[in-house]
Homo-oligomer: 304 residues x 2
Amino acid sequence: MTVIYQNILIIGGGLIGSSLARGARVRGLAGHIAMSDKSAEVCARLKDLGLADRVESNTVSLCADADLIIMAVPTGAIAPLAAAIIPAMKAGATLTDVCSVKGAVVDAVTPLLRGDIHFVPGHPIAGTENSGPDAGFSELFHERWCILCPDDESASAALNLQKFWEGLGSQVAFMPAARHDVVLAATSHVPHLLAFTLVGTAVDMETVTNNEVVKFSAGGFRDFTRIAASDPVMWRDVFLTNQDAVLEVVDRFIEDLSALKRAIRWGDGEQLFKHFEKTRDIRRRIIDAGQDTAEPNFGRDGEG
Amino acid sequence: MTVIYQNILIIGGGLIGSSLARGARVRGLAGHIAMSDKSAEVCARLKDLGLADRVESNTVSLCADADLIIMAVPTGAIAPLAAAIIPAMKAGATLTDVCSVKGAVVDAVTPLLRGDIHFVPGHPIAGTENSGPDAGFSELFHERWCILCPDDESASAALNLQKFWEGLGSQVAFMPAARHDVVLAATSHVPHLLAFTLVGTAVDMETVTNNEVVKFSAGGFRDFTRIAASDPVMWRDVFLTNQDAVLEVVDRFIEDLSALKRAIRWGDGEQLFKHFEKTRDIRRRIIDAGQDTAEPNFGRDGEG
């Protein structure tokens, strides 16, 4: 594959950062890969894993050489990080991020920007429930979507960044940050909130032991525990920085849940059936779009 | 393996019934397997698939020979079915079911029972989002739990039924029907209700298109669409027949969700973090108990 950026710097050696380093290396998208992490332990692990050409805990010292800097850190860490690195960036370089919330990142970074660098907010719709440098893998972004939210100034820099994500196997969609935050509230943030909530509810029930919850989880509960095992810092920051959109979707959800509760209480089988039938079609479309496996139970039980 | 029952009759050729037939055949648990289904089309398919030694749409005609009759039909179909078959059963035979709700099944069947047959309510905690005779497979029950709810009269018949389920690869737990319904409300029924609800909410939102929901579903939403694709008739019946336990868990869930909503609205990051951290441990325990894969994303994206 073609080198898209001569020098890239990935800040943050977690699931996303370490997957980016692996993917860029395997697919030959960068001439030189530098990485940094605020944790000395993570830096040591990145070195052991050999994920980058250079690893330093002093992030600022790595900035001057980079043509692309990717901030792969939780949303809450963006503002101080951007304030530290932007003054050290090379003229003409591109800055991006991978946070799950875009409005708050734009608000944090925009006042710090210089006229001679390009900021392209980004968000790959990919991940697993695992965290840390060992959790990453080169194909994490393959066949997944990446959303970029450039403004007029950064539109041409975004075309180059698009090539980088396409090189990782992703498809790229462009949309304004505010729209991103509404769409992701429905497709990611609220699903996670419901999973975190339900797992907590089940764990706290006095009428059901935790042993029973574990043993009989294959009836549906285990699915929720996967996303409820995701990084708590990252998810705290998502909810703190995408309040409005999350609360709007949660309120709609509670309205719909109340309607189904009422149908259950009054024994309205027809309403339940109608609702349950309409939700089948969207699964089929997700499978047809290549966004999930058609294997029953996600193929995890080795059926067939 | 040892034959546990000379003659078994499986009524209902769906996911569960057809998996039972396949599993009993592969593992040599029955001398002779008969099946029936109220749908002529399903009966024809069962014959084509060669899943049983004998397939008849006239269920009652098959009862006299059976040592074990398994009612693998939705909860709502149990009462009329039991009324039809119990008078035709052989003395000493065992009757069981596989419904996700046990109290309602006991209430429906008990008044119809004869003194010379044994009724052991049962529920295998296993399934997929797919339905019908082609969806079944012999290993569906392997390493899953099966709950049996015998009373004093049927306790010894239940020991034989336990061997049958163990022969299919399951572990068997005994508990009263009422307790089963509370435990399953938390571990299966409410998770399904939330998934059905959320998928409906997302599909109905005017601010997010269905195309966007499909494209960006890998952020969490796709997990919910799997269980929201489950059989609508079966799930309608579950909610109609386990009202009290389901509504109690739903109310607890809504309380907990409201508390997290409030933390989001007030920007209480500490409360969110604390909650999100406590839900990680249960995932680990489920994996350790062999009830889910440790592979990230359920292994479906071919990582690693």
